[in-house]
Symmetry: C2
Subunit: 132 residues, 2 copies
């Protein structure tokens, strides 16, 4: 069962300059910044209501986000849905023929377990699932 929209992620080339329009113009605030070495990214978290916007900057040239930027430029990268039982959700999606990028949960940001669903099964939208 889906509980909430955990976050929306935007791929950006440079975190500090990308934060300006979101903080100075729109008035959002950064609650935390962290580097996730496993995903080769640096992330700024901007809470909004019961969800948040994440600005994601690649830290290497061959990370998934770096390749996205090269191919499509800056913009919306993925959305993340919080589910009550990640393992059970992945099993159910697979049984329904949904293509998974990660068949098993792995460590994501903020110490949460995550898995990605392939955009080909979701009308071009990369979807991350996380357990709350």
């Amino acid at each position: 069962m889906i509980i909430k929209l955990d976050h929306i992620a935007m791929a950006v080339k440079d975190l500090e300059s990308a934060l300006k329009p979101y903080t100075e113009a729109l008035g959002l605030t950064v609650s935390k910044m962290e580097e996730i070495q496993g995903q080769q990214v640096r992330i700024a978290y901007l809470p909004i209501g019961d969800t948040e916007i994440e600005l994601v900057e690649p830290t290497t040239d061959d990370s998934g986000v770096a390749k996205f930027l090269e191919k499509r430029g800056e913009g919306l990268h993925h959305i993340c849905l919080e589910v009550d039982d990640l393992k059970a959700t992945l099993t159910r999606l697979k049984a329904q023929g949904v293509r998974l990028i990660d068949e098993e949960p792995h460590d994501g940001g903020k110490g949460k377990r995550i898995a990605f669903v392939h955009p080909r099964s979701m009308n071009g939208v990369l979807i991350e699932l996380t357990e709350g």
Copy 2:
């Protein structure tokens, strides 16, 4: 001031087939469907927590969403932020050098007043603002 994330919009070619993975596989439910003639789109609303996902299908070949699909294919199209005072927000953004698509609020879906901010000022992300 930003109150919440009102919705995330995904551009899809065919609403009925696009709904399947979101409802049958992920278990989201459609609260409403409507056609907005001014924007030449048909929208399905899928609530999730205090926000919602909108699947947006173009109803003409020359609408903004039809052109997006032609250029980039299906995927995340824009996000919408609810603000307390739309007119004041637009004035403030313009004063700070943010490029606006709509300098004045106009009618959007569900009878709300809306305006779009240009993605060139927001790191490639098309942002809609709405007054709650």
